[in-house]
Amino acid sequence: MTSSQMVSRDGRDGGLPVGEAGAAERWAAILGGTALGLAGARRGSWAGAALMALGGGLFLAGAAGVPVARALREGLGEAHLPDGLRSGVAGLLPVAEEPTTTQAVVTIAAPPETIFRFWRNVANLPRLMSHLERVDVLSEKDSRWIARGPGGVELCWTSTLDKVEENALITWHTLEGAELPHRGSFMLAPAPGGRGTEVRLTLVYRPPAGAGGRAVSRLFGSAPEQQSREALRRLKRLIETGELPTIEGQPHGTRGTRGRMQEGME
């Protein structure tokens, strides 16, 4: 995870960032001995680093079970991509063969209407994605997204809605000129046994090959599936409890060099 991910109410970082994948991995390894350590490493990399490897196996397989994911993937054909991306970002990088699909899913103890309403109001979205500065509504279908990348670099893109099914589905794609074109879907389905609503967020994008992970990170603030996951976690927490848990600003004793290093890794 990146440090941009878990911002407390007052906007300061309270979360677990890039190095966090490493920290969590280590924790798993220490706690779990060898076997769980390996499991932790797999999850850890999924959680952060090996972006390219990931779009493949696990997540694509998960997404394949969802018709909309496939449709989205097909929809993001080469023809839809702007020239700049077809030949790699700024023409410097080769383009990856396959678009990457990431998906996150969470169950929220609330009816679909509540969740749909929250997401449909795009002004709420910066509360879910820490790198997002704001989302401006341009028209019924279009919205302008303004994000801050590392070092305060401003990133902008325009998204347009494709499908909106009340309390069930929202899909969108970025318009020409986006630095990293992507499509997304937000699906809601009732969970069994009165458990609330299953929420599925799918993103399909075509990462530039090679050093492309960096471009992806610039746009999303971190690995996209990690971002999606974190966005859904915050959505769940805000809807269920009305707040995001935090310890940012609580007292502690002298951290010392080691404590500061540990803090820095978050």
Binding site: A29, L244, E248, P251, G253, R255
Partner: protein, 391 residues
């Protein structure tokens, strides 16, 4: 304010730190009156919990007075004398709504650690490492409590501070051990470990209808407390073979319910070769928990019986007798305590005189004596059961 901070393995220091403040709308600030040590803190001190940071304030079992509250706190007021359940629930997620608040989805601000290690995130716990949220603990003059309406419980009239403080953690943990074991009238229950949690488990087992409770430990004073205060039949595992003794006491059937109130801190459970096998592997980082008690429970338990585990485990165990467990048809129940489910019920038992946790408190010290208090608790010197700090 003063606070007892972890600085490294077996290195606690009393420091001056900032006072806590309200960070979220459902928070309260509690002025701590009593704050108990707990056996599970020893994992932190010994360095078995890798996400501790120098400067972390420890302690999770406490009682105090509400001195400040966030704008969305509805049921609590300044001046309320409360205990706080040590494991934090949000009160709104599906688990909390179903009474399983230690499985809360929302209370851990750093869920990534436990997701990586366990597959799903754990709840937050006060003063119990960053994997459990990194919340500042209660060995301090003040503490911030999130989701306060759900986690704080007003102490009723007729319940003393010394009784109530353990409703934070030790009492509900022991009570839950007995509750989830599904004890039926006539059952014979064996409890491994006679620390605070074990003592509470013994008493709770009787409250739920157990016919006899056998308490297993090695420390004479703890066995004596189990016998005198909780009514158990004591068994010193250094003097008898536990399996043989339990079979002899149960007509060869074995106990109907076996409760693990020890966990990975099976300290001094050095039953020869097996202990050293686990200890060595643990030291090498190959095995994080020592399961000697678990193995013994599987062997001793009657066929079709229940193992109820409330002693804390953190990671992997090795050489688990799965064949015996499977072929004997054992049931395993386990978990961190869901104290929010039990607090009111425990206060009722205390008021009626059916349960009195106050005898757990053997030493009342000031916060300044924090390091000495833990040393005493760890080495169990001076018949120490629980040290409670009064800041």
């Amino acid at each position: 304010m003063k606070a007892l901070c972890w600085n490294g393995v077996n290195d606690l220091r009393v420091e001056r730190v900032e006072d806590p403040r309200i960070l979220n709308p459902h928070d309260v600030i509690v002025k701590v009156a009593l704050s108990s040590v707990c056996g599970s803190d020893l994992h932190l001190l010994d360095g078995y919990v890798p996400t501790m940071r120098p400067g972390d304030i420890i302690g999770h079992e406490f009682l105090g007075e509400i001195v400040e509250k966030g704008p969305d706190v509805r049921y609590l007021n300044r001046g309320d004398r409360v205990i706080t359940v040590s494991i934090i629930g949000c009160g709104k997620c599906w688990h909390c709504e179903n009474g399983d608040s230690s499985l809360c989805d929302n209370s851990n601000p750093k869920p990534q650690y436990s997701e990586a290690a366990y597959g799903h995130c754990t709840a937050g716990i006060f003063g119990y490492s960053h994997a459990f949220g990194g919340y500042a603990g209660s060995h301090a003059e003040y503490i911030r409590v999130p989701y306060a309406d759900f986690n704080c419980f007003r102490v009723p009239e007729g319940v003393s501070d010394e009784q109530a403080v353990f409703v934070s953690d030790a009492a509900p943990t022991g009570y839950m051990a007995a509750d989830m074991a599904g004890i039926r009238p006539g059952d014979l229950v064996a409890v491994w470990g006679c620390g605070g949690v074990g003592q509470m488990a013994i008493r709770s087992a009787y409250l739920m209808g157990a016919e006899r409770v056998i308490a297993i430990d090695r420390y004479p004073d703890r066995l004596q407390a189990a016998q005198m205060k909780a009514g158990a039949e004591p068994l010193d595992y250094t003097r008898v073979d536990v399996f043989d003794a339990l079979q002899a006491m149960t007509g060869g059937r074995g106990p109907d319910v076996c409760i693990d109130a020890v966990g990975m801190e099976a300290d001094g459970y050095d039953t020869g070769l097996e202990y050293w096998y686990d200890r060595t592997k643990q030291a090498m980082g190959l095995e994080s928990d020592r399961p000697a008690v678990l193995r013994q429970m599987v062997e001793c338990c009657r066929k079709g019986g229940t193992l109820s585990i409330v002693g804390v485990y953190g990671g992997m165990i090795d050489k688990f007798p799965m064949g015996a467990a499977m072929n004997k048809g054992l049931t395993f129940r386990m978990g961190q305590q869901h104290g929010q489910r039990y607090a009111e019920r425990l206060f009722e038992h205390i008021r009626k005189g059916e349960l009195d946790p106050s005898y757990l408190l053997t030493h009342r010290l000031s916060l300044e004596d924090g390091p000495e208090g833990y040393a005493m608790f760890k080495k169990k010197t001076d018949h120490c059961m629980r040290v409670v700090f009064a800041p």
